[in-house]
Symmetry: C3
Subunit: 247 residues, 3 copies
């Protein structure tokens, strides 16, 4: 196996974001893509990551390989890659993952392959009443607005408007995002509302540095799915359990 | 009551500065201005704030209203206003203050009106021996210079020179600011000197982000008054009790 | 004694770097230069500093003077100097060091001359097997790469390649720097290797802000010497004891 990236940021930023949710995870490397599906330790959030082979300048993979590593270790190494560095991932003979950063100098890091006992995660088959596509910066700001008054946020969809509402002990915040050039809304109900943890949303929203738009899918008291996509390059999706009203 | 600001920074920066000195305060809203006079909890400093109606793009106030709120809450909301956002303040029917931020999206915050038991503060009638007008950046730097050697600073005025002096256990600092194009000095004595807390001065000096100049008024062992003004827009003044020599 | 600097950064940055290694130190001021040789309190590192008289716009020194001061105090004062300030050092009659910063205003700081009991440090006469001259940024990055896996680093020299290697409990890092336009290597052996503390190296590497290149001298299990030079202005050198393999 030998994978080379000329634009390290897709892997670097993705690993950095994912490592905030899951510390250790198993990558599945197939001739089509590098993939990862993992639950956070609290079983509240799932992350689904796919980095397509077309993102790589060299992609030499025969058959499917599984590779579990400590994401914090990998993140720290990838952080050392400068934007112009060429990054190569290899499996070394002593069962380590070798990360080569090539620029002015050649830097070689090796990190151990670990055992992850966790069984393979299935991506749940969800069907949503509300789908909103908007700029990831607009969604980020709405959640950051909500954060100053509360720890959880209600997402509210109607056919013409997507609303983010938070109620603290004292103060309230409400962000109204209307259907317009920047925001597409598809809600198959008069109104749909569900509540989620802001702490988790903030970890997920960091994916806005990778993709300009986000697809937000939700239903009444039902999981949320956020999709961040870069065409022909990557998909970074998150599923987040709802907070029930008596939280 | 409905007040709209097209340049939110005058309110935003003022509230941020004031909230470092007083946590809860009562605004008085008259047809001429939004005003606030408050003492800090330690009774060492007073803040006097006036935001003129001419600063607002819409100023719909009938009669005088009093409105006490938690300034930290208001600060956090105003911090969410981007420079290009239009900010509107309204009293809602359920006795809350509504803050609307309008830009790409419409964001509505509401914070409770609170009861502040404190009696109305009178602005003391002070008369000063020394008055110095200088760039607020020059005054800031002098206080920051003093801060590296001590916790209090003596201001010393003579007809031709304004001097900031600090003496620590070991080291001393002295900043001489001469009368010149940037600095105007009026001292009605051969020499006048008084000592103040640097910690408080630093909270007040933050008003330099609003006004290029500061008027510094003091007398021997007497309160200090700092005035930061933006013509036709705002006044932010502070009165600070002196430190007596045996502090 | 009266010393004036029009470019304060050579003294400012040097004192800032040195003060991380030694808190109190004795300067020797001769007609040729301001010099300092000091050991860190743990006796692991030595710093050798020479600021040539040609760096100063005014250099009035008769005979040799010794002058011990608290470097943290001096650092804090020099940090207050803006790049365009003229900095003057004088000995005042009450046995204090006076630091004048002249810009818009005149700022005068005085700090006490202290007694340092420590005997005069002799610079050890070392002879090295390996000498590498490279860009200080390249050396910095190699040490920062090593830092993410371990607390100490091995420097490895061969006639054609300088290698920085670190081994943590789990991960490894290796940076290969080949002889080329940016890097000159002189190794008088087939191979030479020695191990040093990354914590100390990082304090020393801060000198990269003063000099574009660094001369790295080492031998097998022997002290390291780093030289940062600015021609006709300054020398900032560090000697660091090796870590023996059973560290």
């Amino acid at each position: 196996m030998r994978l080379t990236l000329s634009e390290p940021r897709y892997l670097k930023d993705s690993v950095s974001i994912i490592s905030d949710l899951v510390n250790e995870a198993r990558f599945k490397i197939t001739p089509e893509a590098v993939e990862l599906v993992a639950m956070d330790p609290a079983n509240v959030a799932m992350v689904i990551f796919k980095l397509l082979s077309t993102t790589f300048s060299e992609y030499d993979v025969k058959g499917a390989t599984e590779l579990a590593i400590n994401l914090t270790n990998l993140k720290m190494i990838l952080k050392r890659a400068k934007p112009e560095d060429v990054v190569t991932l290899e499996l070394s003979t002593d069962n380590k993952l070798t990360v080569l950063l090539q620029g002015n100098t050649t830097r070689t890091f090796s990190i151990p392959i670990i055992d992850v006992e966790e069984k393979e995660q299935k991506i749940p088959d969800l069907s949503f009443t509300a789908t909103v596509r908007t700029k990831s910066s607009i969604f980020n700001e709405a959640i950051e607005d909500a954060e100053i008054v509360a720890e959880s946020v209600s997402l509210l969809g109607t056919p013409e408007r997507f609303t983010v509402v938070a109620e603290g002990d004292m103060s309230k915040a409400r962000v109204d995002i209307d259907k317009n050039a920047a925001t597409d809304i598809l809600v198959k109900a008069a109104s749909v509302k569900s509540k989620y943890s802001i702490e988790y949303l903030k970890m997920m929203m960091a994916a806005s540095k990778l993709a300009d738009n986000v697809d937000i899918h939700f239903s009444k008291d039902y999981p949320l799915r956020l999709d961040y996509k870069v065409v022909d390059k990557l998909l970074l999706s998150f599923i987040l359990a709802p907070r029930v009203e008596n939280d």
